[in-house]
Point group: C2
């Protein structure tokens, strides 16, 4: 079997139906090999979008793939893949490369930076496994090794395939290798006893769920767990919607002082916080304003379980969740939920505000019908107050430009759901033109563009400056120029009507929501206050 | 003096008047420090464009600078800076970074990939000097060291400045350090004697000039040298226009079998090729079809001079050019130029073709009034036949998306010249929306968009495929939506009229030239033939 054929067969067996990329010249044989499979190449306009799309696809399907050219292709995706690394998303980067045959004299070949190894060195920094398949005899084993690491750690992997290796024959007798994870049974018994005892003794236990719940396919098990023990659940921002936000046990998004007040009350008054696949980042802790006593904490991740100050390496989140579900020694609690604050009167105004948009969406989002994708900026932080059953957004690494490419991938990965992308004007200017790709493939995401004319989140920190201005584009006309439709709205009523129109549209639909430059979500207002007090930047 | 203040003072003294970037949160103090200088921040829509713009600015002014945020900013520019490295362009990347103060517990901070050092490790692969200014006491020395390397080697440098270091005080008694280059006088004497003897014995000498002529500010000296000894001059593609193409000694662009036939005749029949700052890459050698006998070759670069098979390390291009100019021991030759082929009849057709556009531009380009910028694709290879006094284009590394951001930088760097950007539809879809930035700053580049509906260069190699299709945008309408003007043309006459209209326009002007998908420049036709025969890709 040929090397390229082996790779794409394996990807197909793992559920991959689409790859994202651009067919530059060093990637031509890879695209030619793809033609012989049923995997469809989705050619985007710019490589950063390929990385974002593959990341979103990975979050929904368990594996996302990009196929790009050497240098100009792969190196143009470093930020997107770095984000996938930071946010634990299983993306495989497949890069074409110059022929092994042409490398003899360390020749200067286009798309090469310093040496033929420069790109591999860069990718080693942002992946959990990386290989250059320079020897066809070893290629299949290397493919297995990288894929296994990607699937196990839910981090990106990297395969570089020289142009003359794609159609070369691999090792004849190759079989897929895999070493399944098994925890030490004694360690597991010890963990389970300790966790059960703590849960049983607790008077106010709470589950704090994070991004790994979704990455390891544990959403349904988490729901079962919460219902079995009858525990309240909060999530982190990067883990938004890993627990259905319309479930009665759901409290809110915990971010220390800056997130949901109810979530804060439940977490910070708890005597037993069970953290499942969540991480203490600057964002998730509300710039380290979180007050969680380590003594009350039990935490499980893909690498280990920890209880207060001691660790059980090698016992994983999956082990813990599955054994807790099967356990008969943990008691059922009485569900104690905080009283939810009544919505403030201001949000009922007829003017369009970020907060008003979220309220309208809460009424609009029928469960099971939409995939919500958020870009970075206030449109993401406003989602602290959004209730949704699915949510994609770079809630930790926070790179702008994610939403539109991710919405395209979301409609391909889950074709029964319409994608709704929330994006600021700054983020849209980075990758929003990818809507042309949506049109080319008959996809029809609904894009809600929060147009406040500038980097409002930065302005809330550092005051008004010329350099926070975002150039005024005619967004609706641009959407039409790409073959889609659009509407500009300035009132809540207009927004509601546009949502309805978008729902009926047979092409993608862009709603340009005109907001005041001073309109900031409650969450970002609190974040900006924190940042300002920490930065102590001299007044300009 | 504060660290940020010292950096920007030094940049200003080196001629920097504009920086390119996006003010993300880790870069806020840097932008605040910039406010106290007369350096203007040019905020672009997407970081890849900031890298391209700084690269173009560097090519024209001797130093270009980007100021970006950590992670999402700097890592989104890796490809652009890799290109600047490969093409020897002196770009300084200044990246903000998390506070040193917040790093104590290896906290998870947004925009961070693996460790706080990941980004520095990536940048070490694509720069000639890199430093993280984590200690304010050492910061000024590190700034000097990185700047000196950038200016000496004409390669990118990297400075990472934590948010709490920008306004920290540096070492009090700091003076700018510099160690000027001096060649070994005996080695220099030996080189000069050998070069002079070879030139004097030669019957058909030729100068083959490359990109370093422009990077080291030697364009005028090269003209003087060619005139003094009366030698014919060819250039490489990446060194296009380092010798004025309207000069009588200029022959053409040498690229082995695929470039100018006249240049090939002169170089391959020469008994003495004096290579000045040029490099044998796959592009410059026409996919290694160049036939230059090493025995006839004398080559000078920023690192050394070589003659046939021996080398003089430490004697540089600048040393050689300056001493040759001062030398009295080299004789004046009789200029022997090949007969120029008459233009073929086909190019006189009324239909618009790539070749016809180049012919129209040859009539239009008044010397001294325009900066021509080319993107990658057939629009660049067509320029083998363009005669221009200035040319910017990634002729070696070949990353798409360069032209529009570079045209913006070109008008800022050389405000007396109008920028003309040649770009394909694929390249425009990557970074063309940066025209919104042009509008915001009152710049008015003329963009010539070669619209053949797909990756025509790839199609010429691998045949028609769905994945080579570029989505059909309404480009003229998009230009208008960004505040500019445009016209779509389908004939030579229409193109000529649009150029005239563009010249008079007070805002940027986009000419969408509709070309047949099968229309390919003579140069690319030859390249595609070569690639196809080398790849031996199986028929699909």
């Amino acid at each position: 079997m040929r090397v390229g054929e082996y790779l794409f067969n394996r990807l197909k067996a793992l559920g991959v139906r689409h790859i994202f990329g651009i067919p530059g010249d060093f990637a031509l044989p890879l695209y030619q090999a793809l033609e012989r499979t049923s995997i469809r190449p989705i050619v985007v306009t710019h490589e950063p979008a390929a990385g974002f799309a593959a990341d979103a696809y990975a979050r929904l399907k368990g594996l996302g793939v990009t196929v790009v050219t050497f240098g100009a292709g792969a190196l143009n995706m470093v930020n997107s893949i770095a984000q996938a690394y930071a946010e634990r998303s299983p993306v495989l980067v497949v890069s074409g490369a110059p022929e092994i045959h042409d490398r003899s004299l360390d020749a200067l070949v286009h798309h090469k930076v310093r040496t033929f190894e420069s790109q591999l060195a860069v990718y080693r920094e942002i992946t959990c496994a990386a290989a250059a398949l320079n020897d066809p005899r070893m290629a299949m084993e290397e493919i297995d090794r990288v894929l296994e690491a990607v699937l196990r750690w839910k981090r990106p992997g990297y395969l570089e395939i020289p142009r003359d290796v794609v159609f070369a024959r691999g090792a004849r007798s190759h079989r897929v290798a895999s070493t399944p994870h098994r925890p030490d049974p004694d360690a597991l018994r010890e963990v389970m006893a300790e966790v059960a005892a703590r849960l049983n003794q607790s008077r106010r236990p709470v589950i704090y769920a994070g991004v790994e719940i979704e990455r390891f396919g544990l959403i349904e098990k988490l729901v079962a767990l919460a219902e079995k023990f009858n525990l309240p659940v909060v999530t982190s921002m990067d883990g938004k919607a890993v627990f259905p936000e319309t479930h009665r046990n759901f409290v809110g998004i915990y971010m220390g002082k800056v997130g949901s007040a109810e979530a804060r009350e439940v977490v910070e008054n708890s005597d037993c916080v069970l953290m499942l696949g969540a991480f203490m980042t600057d964002v998730s802790t509300g710039l380290f304003t979180a007050q969680v006593d380590r003594a009350t904490l039990m935490s499980a991740s893909s690498e280990e379980v920890s209880v207060s100050h001691h660790r059980y390496p090698g016992v994983t989140l999956v082990d813990l969740v599955e054994h807790l579900l099967a356990s008969r020694s943990v008691k059922r609690h009485a569900l104690r939920l905080p009283r939810r604050a009544a919505p403030s009167a201001g949000s009922r105004s007829a003017d369009l505000t970020t907060r008003g948009i979220v309220e309208e969406l809460n009424a609009f989002l029928t469960p099971g019908r939409f995939t919500v994708v958020a870009d970075v900026g206030d449109c993401m932080y406003a989602c602290v107050d959004l209730r949704t059953d699915t949510f994609l957004g770079p809630g930790y690494y926070n790179s702008m430009g994610f939403a539109v490419p991710a919405a395209i991938a979301a409609e391909l990965a889950w074709p029964k759901r319409r994608a709704i992308a929330l994006v600021g004007d700054g983020g849209f200017q980075m990758t929003g033109m990818e809507l042309g790709t949506a049109k080319a493939h008959g996809l029809r995401p609904i894009v809600i563009l929060f147009n406040n004319g500038g980097f409002a989140t930065m302005q809330a920190i550092a005051g008004r400056k010329d350099y926070f201005t975002v150039a005024p584009w005619d967004y609706v006309r641009i959407a039409e120029s790409l073959g889609g439709r659009g509407a500009q709205v300035r009132s809540r009523e207009g927004f509601r009507a546009a949502l309805k129109e978008a729902l009926d549209s047979r092409v993608f639909f862009l709603i340009e929501a005109i907001l005041s430059p001073a309109d900031i979500s409650p969450t970002w207002t609190r974040i900006a206050d924190e940042v300002r007090s920490r930065l102590r930047m001299p007044a300009s």
